[in-house]
Amino acid sequence: MNAIILSAIWGVVLMFCSVLIKNKGVYRHIAALGLLVILAGNIHETYHGSFFNIDTHEMLRFSRFGLFFNTILLAATLLYVLLSGRDVEKAGGYVAEYFTLIFFVLCGASILTSFNTLLMLFIGIEILSIPLYILTGSDKRNLRSNEAALKYFLMGAFSTGILLMGIALVYGGTGSFMLEVPRSAIMGGYKGVSFLEVTGLLFLLVAMSFKVSAAPFHFWTPDVYDGAPSVFTSFMATIVKAAAFAAFLKLFEARVGDTSAAVDWKLLLSIIIVSTLLIGNVTAVFQQSVKRMLAYSSIAQAGFMLFAVFSLNDVAKEGLLLYATAYSLATIGVFAVLIKMKDVTFEGFNGLARKNPVLAATTTICLLSLAGIPLTAGFFAKFSMLSAVIKTGTYTWLVVVAVLFAAVSAYYYFRVIQAMYFKEGDAQTEEVTGGFKVLLIAVAALVILFGVQPQALLNWFYF
């Protein structure tokens, strides 16, 4: 509750700041301050309860998992603002509004981690998506940005239509929008799984796959991530995607058990996972631009995160927390460096190690984490996802497929590392401040810390 209300309020505060304060450099400090306040409020709520006592009629339910997920999202956003806040100022003319929209996205994300009715799922997804359409098109003179915004908008609205149809059909089948409907409470006294409910859930599966960019509904992702200003791509690929996954997990955790007699969810999801891993990893190999490669790699990482939705057990929930953390940290780190590069193709990274060793070293650590190399956070994230699958006892061949594709992913991540360290070239970067370097080193240190001690994160979750 704290995160939802405070982030909405801080968004409005920033809107007023854009009128009252003319100095553009101040906005990112206000945003960082706001994130600290919201983060503190959220942590307070985790242990001592919310500041606000509002009766939501069970439409929102604040579980430990959701609150902890909020903490991760907020901390990742704070890191993002600290690292890339300066670049947000360069994206376009309306700096305070961009930060405002980021806060509104966070409001939507914290609804998505705590929804308890399908109504709140819908509202959360829309609050999350609509600001993103604007952020994608923020570079108004740039045709690529325009095109990405239009494409994202049309695809997003289309998937919202499918989501709503799913919700309407589930309502038709059960007579309630609540996330968990006891079979005995279904109106009309029908005890089985009705055709309407199953069709509705299939629509919901498609719509959520759209939002998390799982194949075969991923086709908007590369174009949108490539066309949007890099700062906002970084935000979309990490915080937004993690929030969508939290919602996906919550939705299917509540509904799959009752309907598994009617639909083989595991088979459906395993098809989606394998095609996501295949398309994401194989297409990423052929990219010439690092930005576009990261877009495809985010599809591939979504394939791994889908294992949590596939296995739906405690290990999977822990795994999703770890994965969201590891993936967000590493991707924010890589993008922070990418934004500073003058040329975002692989050639643009040639010889970065000699020119700017700190940037090269931290990028290397983040890329290794994305590839899942041991001693980085990404390794334990992937490990816990795979152990969640093994714990379900079925479809263990998925683990083999996943490991094979993780090996493929190492190829394109190492291409960047190779360009930085082993190729001659003159990598052009923008001016990099000392504070930026310190933060990057902190990100890399966190990646290694969670790689050596993943329990540091998870113990905190259970404490």
Partner: protein, 111 residues
């Protein structure tokens, strides 16, 4: 009228919307087709709401069962309006730059 008629009508409208999105090339018409999809959902929700209300009202005349379906429709309308405002702004921005709203123009990002 039986609920099946409403479901059939709503599915037809929804399918027309989906086919329109996939086939048409004008951004505004695609957008209209998306609105058609949303309105098919509204129709369906109201029909289900009436169905559940009618069923519960047989035993209890003052029941509020089924009201949530109609409430949902209002939320869909409000959110769709918000989406329209952003969407039309995006389309206008596109039009200013390329003087066309044809989505066939959207191929610069492919290579």
């Amino acid at each position: 009228m039986p609920i099946q008629y409403y479901i059939a009508l709503a599915s037809c409208l929804f399918c027309i919307g989906i086919v329109g999105v996939l086939v048409r090339r004008n951004a505004i018409i695609i957008f209209m087709c998306i609105e058609l999809m949303l309105n098919a959902v509204n129709l369906l929700l109201v029909a289900f709401s009436k169905m559940y209300h009618g069923g519960a009202a047989l035993s209890n005349a003052t029941t509020t069962a089924g009201v949530d379906g109609q409430l949902f429709v209002f939320f869909i309308m409000v959110v769709a309006a918000a989406e329209v405002s952003v969407g039309l702004a995006v389309i206008v921005m596109m039009y200013r730059n390329v003087h066309s709203v044809d989505v066939n123009f959207l191929n610069r990002l492919k290579n």
